[in-house]
């Protein structure tokens, strides 16, 4: 039997959920909390999205609040912009990373700039959900790590969850945000599972009256998280690269090396404080990201660390990233993706002999 949002809404307490279902629940709960939250995109209505993230929303909330659009990403983002101007909180789905590009002009020229160009008179509380990154054996244009374009664009908030719990929290926080959020969902995590306490998650948000279900708990936006303690070196990762970072730390532990793992979560705004504190505690850093490394989020993280924590560093900050090539064909992606071995090789190069 398929679980629809209707009976999911009755889900409560401690539950084992997939990453995708946590996102569905976040959408569902935000739509219950605030009638101005609407969901649209390609195949999000009857089908429930190609990854089933909007599953059941149409049945529960009706076609005015969850609907399919004609195939045009600039129309999806452009119409969302207009709806956000006029009192709505649209959450739109762009079907795949590379298929967000037809909407890129709207994102860069309007969504990102609206607050600034109107001197704050217009804020756009909209969320652009983008399934991204590889590791799923996807064909061309289905596996891009496109976060670099968005983090480089002032005015956008860019979030990417890596756990089932964060899928719920970050999406609710994105919907509650007064600013536009590009919400990047690592595809390979959609069907990963985790156990969460739904009552506790929902308690973070106030009930219906507040627009978007404003948070009572501090927002996750702008907050990185140390997700594994360690003392010898810090692995900094986000989205799809958190799992290999954790796996590398696990392996390293069996070899007697204690690696701390930090999940950036909020690429913009960037949490310099938490990240610098982590770096200072170990003095050695490897940054891991799937996107091509040249001029990337990983580069930015490395640069910021050297500017701010130079005197705490025992070794240069190293990066383990995708190669500077178009995303490879399915049979080759294993060679491209930053994996445990490559991460541990980088850790080995952190000038241990001098400590």
């Amino acid at each position: 039997m398929t679980v629809t949002a209707v009976n999911q809404a009755e889900l409560a307490g401690v539950q084992q959920l997939t990453f995708a279902k946590a996102l569905t629940l976040a959408l569902n709960d935000a739509m219950v909390a605030d009638a101005s939250v609407i969901v649209f995109g390609e195949d999000v209505g009857t089908l429930g999205g190609v990854f089933r993230v909007t599953d059941g929303l149409r049945a529960r909330f009706g076609e005015e609040r969850c609907f399919d659009t004609p195939l045009a990403e600039s129309g999806i983002v452009g119409m969302a912009t207009g709806m956000a101007i006029n009192g709505m909180r649209p959450v739109v789905e762009l079907q795949f990373d590379a298929f967000a590009f037809p909407g890129f002009e709207q994102i860069v020229s309007h969504v990102a700039k609206m607050g600034n160009r109107t001197r704050g008179n217009i804020r756009l509380p909209l969320v652009i959900r983008i399934p991204y990154a590889g590791g799923i054996g996807g064909v061309e244009h289905h596996c891009d790590s496109s976060e670099g374009y968005y983090v480089h664009t002032p005015g956008l908030t860019v979030l990417t969850p890596s756990s089932v719990e964060d899928a719920y929290i970050l999406l609710r926080d994105a919907i509650a945000s007064p600013d536009p959020v590009v919400f990047m969902e690592p595809k390979k995590l959609y069907f990963s599972k985790g156990t969460v306490d739904l009552d506790a998650l929902r308690a973070r948000y106030t009930p219906a009256s507040e627009r978007g279900g404003a948070t009572t708990a501090p927002s996750s936006i702008g907050h990185a998280a140390v997700i594994r303690e360690g003392t010898d070196a810090t692995l900094i990762a986000y989205g799809p690269s958190v799992a290999p970072a954790l796996a590398a730390a696990e392996t390293a532990a069996t070899e007697g090396r204690s690696l701390q793992v930090l999940d950036v979560r909020s690429l913009v705004p960037f949490d310099d404080d938490t990240i610098c504190a982590a770096v200072r505690s170990t003095g050695r850093v490897v940054v891991i990201a799937e996107a091509p490394g040249f001029a990337s989020m990983a580069s930015e993280i490395a640069a910021r660390i050297q500017e701010r924590c130079f005197h705490s560093l025992a070794a240069p900050v190293l990066r383990v990233t995708g190669f500077d090539i178009p995303y490879p064909a399915p049979k080759l992606e294993q060679h491209y993706l930053p994996g445990v071995d490559r991460i541990l090789d980088a850790v080995d190069k952190l000038q241990w002999e001098e400590s």
Binding site: I38, P70, M79, P102, Q106, H110, K113, N121
Partner: protein, 387 residues
């Protein structure tokens, strides 16, 4: 036509579709004209639907607005030539389109326009210096869009059109009777967002009226290089919305055609596409030199088609335009022109730290840092200058 199951599920949609076939979607065989260039009124019955001549009071008020619009264009042009303003994309010659764009709207309706639509923006009530702040170079905007239900003019061609659809869609979902009027140029119809916006508007059946000011050029490129469609208004049928062509220098015809589309949209009749045939009498902007791509003979042909001339003659001949009216209109236009001159002569002083204030609703720690750095630089410069 649309036989999408969801669409047909809506009560009333089948009836709606029945009335929206072929002929109805095509524009009239010739652009709708109600007052000829020599100032006489046409009889009705020539076009695909009857467009009654607006009443005398409306036409008189409209003429006053044309006088004002022309004066704004003249004054802005002068300020640019004097170097008081960086740039002005003029609507000289297109004032009838500008005036119709706001006279057909209610306060709660929305207007989305381009860089060329300053006159229309001011017609929505935006104060002169608010409308010109971006042209002066102080900021990207000078007014609060919510105060006037008027979007900031957009320079990225056609990208404002999907926003217009979104504003209309939101209003429709809430059951409000807001209409959105979206302006663009002939060149902008080649952009993807033009297509996207019209298609979305038609599929979602939202109250947007798209008004193309076909002024024959996109900077230097004449319309024939943009499109070989029978007319731009013919594109409407491809989206399943009615199209219409109108003489863009005939305010009476514009008020009738745009007004009828606006009211149809307000009453649930969905979007419409209107092409107004007009002419850009001046260069694209002051930075452009139109003599490089069009002849003075061509421009001269449009002089007798001027939107002010024919309406003035019509109103005068019909005995509706007295000398007191003419004086009143000229005085009002002069007052606005003076406000513009005085405003542009006042030295403006944009706050550099504003650059960081509005990017996010709360500046990020990175922007706070950068703002502090600039503030320190400014303070140091001031101290250096003072010592």
């Amino acid at each position: 036509m649309t036989n999408h199951p969801e669409f047909l599920d809506h009560p009333g949609n089948a009836a709606l579709l029945a009335g929206r076939q072929g002929e109805y979607l095509l524009p009239s065989a010739a652009p709708v004209q109600l007052i000829t260039t020599d100032g006489t009124a046409h009889t009705v019955g020539k076009y695909k639907q009857d467009y009654p001549l607006p009443n005398a009071a409306t036409l008189l008020e409209g003429y006053g607005q044309l006088v004002l619009g022309r004066r704004i264009n003249e004054q802005a042009g002068a300020l640019v030539r004097q170097g008081r303003m960086a740039v002005y994309p003029s609507s000289f010659g297109q004032e009838a389109c500008q005036v119709a764009a706001y006279m057909t709207l209610r306060r709660n309706d929305w207007l989305f326009g381009t860089y060329r639509d300053t006159v229309a923006v001011m017609g929505r009530g935006v104060k002169p210096m608010e409308a010109f702040e971006s042209l002066r170079g102080d900021w990207h905007s000078g007014f609060d869009p919510y105060e006037y239900n008027t979007a900031l003019p957009t320079t990225s061609l056609a990208t404002q059109l999907p926003h217009a659809v979104g504003v209309a869609h939101a209003a429709k979902l809430r059951g409000e009777d807001t209409v959105v009027l979206a302006l663009c140029g002939d060149g902008a119809t080649s952009e993807g967002d033009f297509h996207v916006a019209l298609n979305f508007a038609a599929v979602f059946h939202v109250p947007v009226v798209f008004l193309i000011q076909n002024n024959q050029y996109a900077i230097s490129v004449p319309l024939i290089h943009q499109s070989v469609a029978p007319s731009l208004a013919h594109k409407a049928i491809g989206y399943g919305m009615p199209g219409e062509r109108v003489d863009g220098n005939d305010l009476a015809a514009l008020l009738a055609v745009v007004g009828s589309a606006v009211e149809r949209a307000r009453n649930g009749g969905g979007p419409a596409l209107i092409e107004a045939h007009t002419y850009r009498m001046e260069s694209h902007t002051n930075a452009d030199d139109a003599t490089r791509y069009r002849s003075s003979e061509e421009v001269a042909q449009w002089l007798p088609k001027d939107p002010l001339l024919r309406l003035k003659k019509y109103l005068h001949d019909a005995g509706h335009l007295g000398s007191a009216d003419a004086e009143r209109f000229a005085d009002a236009a002069d007052a606005v022109a003076k406000t513009l001159r005085d405003g542009m002569n006042t030295k403006s002083n944009p706050d550099p730290l504003d650059m960081f204030r509005y990017v996010y609703s709360k500046p990020t720690s990175q922007l706070r840092e950068q703002s502090n750095m600039l503030a320190a630089e400014l303070a140091a410069a001031q101290q250096g200058g003072a010592s």
